[in-house]
Symmetry: C3
Subunit: 351 residues, 3 copies
């Protein structure tokens, strides 16, 4: 994709913190994969399996690791981590559009709300009483910010994000379309065969530098707060129950569900579609594979998994049926073992 | 959290239906957990494991069960079920803000729609032709109510809820932000290697006292209706397929998926992330554990489960590989059993 | 449900491409299931198990397959596939309301956007700079169309759909409420224990005749595009990661999650709640059962499954515990086999 402007190899190398090899004035106007790159594109070579693509690429320049310094004769940027280098270069080529300060005439800002003149409030937004919007915040079309909620400086909401009353979002956060922060937690007391709703009066508190994906939902706490610490990254369609705490710099992939009062450590990763049951604790640096159901606390850093392996359907049906009777199978094995042991003990004449 | 006003112990005891012990004039201004409570807070002690927290709490008063009448010397409210007592007290301390009657100037009410003067219609709402809004209904910002849809009295929609045409929602319901009621069911006929869409002309009919979580979706019926009976509680991000029926007072946790035409009984509970396949029936009082896949009808009340147990990744990989060949393992066991049986039958001289 | 107008049996037979038997002037005013049908209703009989309902139906006429030509004496339409026939008849009885051309006064169309006079733009919509809306497109209330995005002719968006900048949607598509097309993919580079966001600069490109369910999310590509080919049908609450490609005429049921860069073939079906891991490939005509986790590429057309079978909870707990130690069980079996083999090899005198 074309960048709004063109840079030289030397400029990008400096921004990436790498070393430019080849013509430092090579003009670069965008980033692309090795396969898709055309003239003027910068690309990157981060994994050996893409070597054939490196050999054939039409890119104007490539980011490579130090060990691959001589893997190509193209103009190149040599650095420690070409993937991180690509991330940095992409920030240079594709900066987010700056806020366009001002409140759209169709937006509604209630009395007592604070909206600084540096903020951009899109069409159809609603900012309720006492809400506080930070400097340079951008609100896409149709966002709803509840009573006394607050958004830190430089935070950006895409269209149709809902922040319920009293919730707090830090600085430099990104929240994608359709996300809902602060809906009531799922709290009810059983009473005469019916459910009595328990008012949810905690908040959601989101730290700085958090990203929240499209249509993700984070429930407010029942009494205490639900807390998302700084630097956490949440993908789309994640559900975070009330009173959950997610530790700093953890990253959760799409469709993860976290039941109430679970506590996730720092620097954890959780694969897509995983489910974490309520009131569990995950230590720091725990890594859960996609679609795993976490049914107990994990006190030890490491990698954990648990999915039933996919198979051709007929064979799956056979194995699943056996699995339902694994207890019977284990019992048969035990009887065999016993029988053999007993046979070994019997004197020869008896047999 | 601070309540808008302060109550005495005696007042709360009366509202909760419990007995006040200690100074009946103890002023209470909010509810908190035993651990978080400060001066002026009411707390509750419902599970023995929190006993150490009870001993250390700074709460001004505590709700306890009859058996724990003497478990503390703090001013207290004694009742049958402290958790239900907490629910009732929370309703007193934290009442929902009453409707602020009126249609916001930025809302659009189409000709033929009925909006009583007691209803609150938030900014940017759209109420289509022939829709009927009940008394004291509250619509948050940006809700879209389709043609001829109807909402019963005292129902409350948070921002950005969509109700499709002709759907019916009962009285005293709560629907959280981003929920979509009445989108087309997933109905298609295969025709020459393509899919022909089948118009979905049934409705969604939601009973009284139903709560629907954020970003939950309930599809309209193909021909007959999708029905959510009274008192059902649905958490966030649940998907309910067309022509499903959910029986009264059932509660489903977040991220549950229910395929088309499934029928769930009354007073069932379904754990988070569970999947219920199409055209199945669950009897009344069936309880499904989190993340379980319900692949057959359940005719018998009781508890059901089915998740692959999580393990440290290396061990999971070993066990998963064995599971894929469980049929071979069972066959080996059978051969062993046969061999031993045969050996037992063989006359001594033959051996 | 009543149709806006009444048809004769002969008219519907012609539209369905079937043969009318019985009074060709039988008036028909709607479609219903065999069980729900009343006078004036057309029904259909597509599966033998509904035979008792056919015998008792109050329908005015029935669609049947050729083999069931004489299964009823009611006026009937005989055709190859009664289910497809029902789909076609339903289109006749229940046509979508035609667009009501015009931009609602509360909608905001930015300079440089193209909106033809045949399009219907609902209340509160926002159409950003350079966006291109096709002929006869319908936008429900509160849709947000990003900068330079484009929607093909006759495409229909229900309320509160968000299309991010630069994304492309084909002709005759249907997108349900709350769907988000083009949010950032989940791309980050690890850097000093933190995550550095990688700008996502690819697009989402959606082909013609695609249907996208309520609250479904499709992420934009990191560099290249995310592609949904023509005729694909996506149910509600599906998550499609960045750079995924879904082949033509594939159908995915609710709550499916597809991780980044997965490639799904043509005419595939994926059951509800299934998870497809990243960078995998599914061949054409692969069918994945509900809730299956696809952990490896599938090169061969066919049916695949993998869910842990649900059981009564106590038995599940027993079997799940055994499964966690399947490796130990297999080892015990191996020892037994070895022991027996060795015993068989030992000379008689030794025993």
């Amino acid at each position: 994709m074309r960048s709004p402007r063109t840079y030289t190899l030397a400029e990008i190398a400096r921004r990436v913190g790498g070393e430019a090899l080849g013509d430092p004035d090579t003009p670069l106007s965008g980033i692309a994969t090795l396969q898709s790159a055309g003239s003027g594109d910068l690309s990157f070579f981060a994994q050996g399996k893409f070597r054939p693509q490196l050999d054939r690429t039409a890119a104007a320049a490539v980011i490579v690791r130090r060990a691959d310094r001589d893997a190509t004769t193209l103009p190149r940027i040599v650095c420690d981590d070409p993937y991180a280098g690509y991330a940095r270069a992409a920030e240079v080529f594709y900066p987010l559009p700056p806020p366009r300060p001002g409140v759209h005439p169709s937006a509604v800002v209630e009395p007592g709300a604070t909206v600084p003149s540096s903020a951009e409030v899109g069409p159809g937004c609603h900012i309720a009483e006492e809400a506080r919007i930070g400097e340079r915040v951008v609100l896409g079309a149709g966002c709803a910010i509840g009573r006394a909620a607050s958004l830190g400086a430089d935070t950006r909401l895409y269209p149709r994000v809902t922040i319920y009353h009293d919730c707090i979002v830090g600085e430099r956060c990104i929240i994608h379309a359709g996300a809902v922060i602060g809906a009531d937690g799922f709290g009810m007391a059983a009473e005469d065969g019916r459910w009595r709703k328990i008012p949810q009066v905690g908040r959601v508190v989101v730290g700085d530098d958090v990203e929240i994906g499209a249509n993700t939902t984070i429930d407010r706490g029942a009494l205490d707060d639900t807390v998302i610490e700084q630097g956490v990254k949440l993908d789309n369609q994640i559900q975070v129950g009330h009173n959950v705490r997610i530790g700093a710099h953890s990253a959760l992939a799409g469709c993860v569900g976290i039941a109430g009062s679970a506590r996730i450590g720092r620097r954890c990763t959780v694969g897509g579609g995983a489910v974490i049951l309520g009131h569990l604790e995950l230590a720091d640096d725990v890594h859960i594979s996609a679609a795993t159901v976490v049914t107990r606390s994990v006190r030890q850093a490491g990698r954990y998994a648990g999915v039933y392996p996919m198979q051709e359907q007929a064979r799956w049906a056979r194995n699943a049926a056996l699995l339902r009777h694994l207890d019977a199978l284990a019992e048969r094995l035990r009887l065999l073992e016993e029988g053999i042991e007993e046979a070994g003990r019997r004197p020869e004449q008896e047999r």
